[in-house]
Amino acid sequence: MSSRRSRSRHSGSSRITDDQINDLVSKLQQLLPEMHSRRSDKKSATKVLQETCNYIRSLHREVDDLSERLSELLENADTTQADLIRSLIMQ
């Protein structure tokens, strides 16, 4: 039964509409810091994808930087785990 269902996947229901894509692109656009501020003008999908790539790269760099700084803490600080988590959850 399941194999039959997977075989008929081409027809109808799985078709992607332009509306679906536009909706997803605008959701993506709302997550971008620069584009969110001037949302009045609607950007092309290509532009949104380009900005998305740049933004993900900047987020990756930030995680890289934070990892480096946290790894430096490993050698000296010996913070208690419970205390740390408690303070994070409280926020």
Binding site: L31, L59, H60, V63, L66, L84, I89
Partner: protein, 142 residues
């Protein structure tokens, strides 16, 4: 497809997993402190794996990350997914660039690439927030 993103729950789960991973790295002090680059790589990998683990296997991007770390456990799922979602749209330019940035992006169809990207960005934002909090907290203790 809906963006129901339990940000605070994911943040808490990530914080717990990441701090535990840091604790484990700390225990292996002898190995990790000799080389500062190695220590950085281990922390970076822990941050990535902890985030994917906090999200769980229901997302394609987190599944891709988890399958790298826990290959045996998730291999079956990801192979099945690849059969269901063939590379319908190989894309070019920006799209191809994006596929390289989102974990598992190379095997996704266009629609799920977009929704996985949105989810992935929100997770990276949450990850950065938690890691910044940990850093501030730790430096205030010292």
């Amino acid at each position: 497809m809906a963006m129901n993103f339990h940000q605070s729950a994911i943040k808490t789960r990530f914080a717990v997993r990441f701090v535990q991973a840091m604790k484990r790295l700390n225990k292996r002090r002898g190995v990790t402190t000799t080389d500062s680059y190695k220590r950085y790589r281990a922390t970076r990998a822990a941050a990535c794996a902890s985030m994917a683990s906090a999200v769980g296997p229901q997302r394609a991007w987190s599944r891709a990350v988890l399958s790298k770390t826990k290959r045996r456990r998730f291999q079956a799922i990801s192979r099945k997914r690849r059969l269901i979602n063939p590379r319908r749209n190989l894309g070019f330019g920006q799209e191809e660039d994006l596929r390289g940035l989102v974990p598992g992006g190379k095997g996704m169809e266009y629609c799920s690439l977009l929704s996985e990207t949105a989810h992935y960005i929100r997770c990276l934002q949450a990850q950065i927030q938690v890691m910044t909090d940990i850093l501030h907290h730790s430096s205030s203790l010292n």
